[in-house]
Symmetry: C2
């Protein structure tokens, strides 16, 4: 049985394209007069000029998404509650996310919970969402996660100590608007950590054993683009910011299986609350034996862009914390098998995994 | 103003994926019980086994599309009449095209005419279609035209001596099913001529002056794939047939502007009724000065795949025919400017163009 892959409905790209958002929303507004749009905005923008430029009408709702930590089932339930209270039984004409992976994933998950009963945790997994979500628009302000085109919205489940997505066609955005001007003011380190997420999930997908020619072809192109950007002299030039937006967009479409980076990275997020992008960087920094070539390229990228990855982040943890890091990593069977085969535990013994964390 | 690009809604790819077509149609059939599906089938398949495998129900309509010649406004109006008569005022649950560019384009154009008044010729141009078409599924049996993902359905307008498409988001398919098994029995020459169409429109787009980074990135990938396929030892191996399906799919998404190949090729189609794929090959064969590198690669492909392109197809035509070839080529301003600049007529004088045709 082959999978029927869904595409994002529409996409627009261009320097300054944000100014066309009003036009993109107008057929939706016309179709549902007086229905509010719900704007999910990364809290980082709360006091910035960007907020003044957004096409927010009087009867719309603004939700500032706290992205200090990544989305959790609790945070998604909380925002869902806010939106439901605001809507008071009425329907929104659209949900719009302005931000990086955390803001976009929050919007995707809240969207599903507006049309499906229960709580966020009920839908962590594959194809558990039954009813279509409202129309959703993504306006990424940070490139790399691929959330704008992927079919998942990832949340941390603190209770189950698990990071898992709402994996569903209904999680997908209907419209993506890519405006490279929006990533001009991102801090360099953050731009790098998030951007290399595309590099990470694409090389992992391409070096796995579960493959698919279409996914490969998207991943190959996205990988080429990230190399171009991060091995260039200035990863943040106008042109490179545009290329990275495209890389992220295609990387999200290359939703293949990941490998060993993502499980270790998930461990860091679950146990230490570390953000996904930088956690990936730490993970790859101790996987030279498993991914020799990507490791070399990644080290070259760090050097070229003068980005710092301070050592010692897992030094002096408690035995319980090391255990937890191991558990939260090794639980990701499928990606580990994808790279290392069924006997992955022979390589990734508990000692081996903990030793890797200690070397970060 | 940036363009809001539409994507094909869903795509499925895999060897033998055709067997899942019933499943793909079932939600549509459920939603509109007893509504017929209209199957547009390349007439080449009329007496073949493939026809037995298609999920055609008793109350569905089969249209065998005569692909001896490429679609014309007249042929599209004719098939539209057949479908309207069959439907007798009722609505179809889906239109499905099984074939190459001619069959898919016919399906796209008829779809628009089922929900929009008037005749095919009324909609030749950009964004003239006002109402959405019925749900459409593409099942390509020939790779290269990119019709499965493009927003145009090309027709020859004999009256105006013009080849022009119904360029509209409504022309696009909602679902694409790619099954490389379907291209296994295509004659080698035809497989080559149609397949290199992707190579042609991608290199033309990439060597033009009207550019766009997203289109470029699709075109670059599609171009790489066609080179891989046609410079390999066997362009028709299982794997290469799969790659060419993906190349065609991405090439259709790279709907950029073409260059000098397509205008000359259109001349051959308009005046001599030549099919698009082979006409492109003849066009490039006399454009070594304008596209030196693509010319060399193309010659290498011909040689490698032992495909024949017999010389002398425009020998001994009448003066009127040469004039007509020139007129039907030079009318395509935009692509000619794209490659040669505003003063394209200084290079492509009438003598120069006619001389090129004579060398084919």
């Amino acid at each position: 049985m082959y999978r029927n892959a869904k595409n994002v409905g529409y996409y627009m790209i261009g320097d300054g394209a944000l100014s066309q958002l009003t036009d993109l929303l107008s057929p939706l507004r016309d179709k549902m007069p007086a229905a509010p749009a719900i704007h999910f905005i990364d809290h980082y923008f709360e006091k910035t000029e960007l907020c003044q430029q957004l096409p927010i009408l009087e009867w719309d709702q603004r939700i500032f998404v706290d992205t200090t930590d990544e989305p959790t089932c609790e945070s998604v339930d909380y925002y869902t509650g806010q939106v439901k209270k605001f809507l008071n039984g009425s329907k929104p004409c659209a949900l719009i996310a302005y931000g990086g992976g955390s803001t976009m994933d929050t919007c995707k998950c809240v969207g599903n919970l507006l049309t499906n009963p229960g709580k966020a945790a009920d839908y962590q997994g594959w194809d558990l969402v039954k009813n279509p979500a409202p129309y959703k628009v993504a306006v990424p302000t940070l490139s790399g996660t691929g959330s704008e085109t992927s079919r998942t919205g990832i949340m941390l489940n603190k209770e189950k100590k698990l990071k898992l997505g709402m994996n569903s066609d209904y999680s997908m955005f209907d419209q993506v608007l890519l405006d490279q001007r929006l990533t001009a003011s991102v801090p360099r380190d953050q731009y790098f950590y998030t951007g290399v997420d595309t590099f990470m999930h694409c090389f992992e997908s391409l070096s796995g054993s579960y493959r698919n020619t279409v996914v490969d072809s998207f991943a190959e192109k996205a990988l080429d683009l990230t190399k171009k950007v991060f091995l260039s002299d200035d990863m943040m030039s106008d042109h490179n910011r545009e290329l990275l937006m495209i890389a992220s967009f295609k990387g999200g479409m290359a939703a293949g299986f990941v490998g060993v980076v993502h499980p270790l990275s998930a461990g860091l997020s679950v146990v230490l609350g570390m953000h996904h992008g930088i956690a990936n960087c730490y993970a790859l920094s101790v996987l030279q034996d498993i991914y020799p070539e990507p490791y070399e390229i990644f080290m070259e990228m760090l050097k070229k862009q003068k980005v710092n990855l301070p050592k010692g982040i897992c030094k002096n943890l408690t035995a319980e914390q090391y255990d937890a890091l191991y558990e939260a990593s090794i639980v990701h069977e499928k990606p580990l098998i994808n790279r290392l085969g069924e006997k992955y535990k022979e390589i990734l013994t508990k000692e081996n995994v903990i030793d890797r964390f200690k070397r970060m």
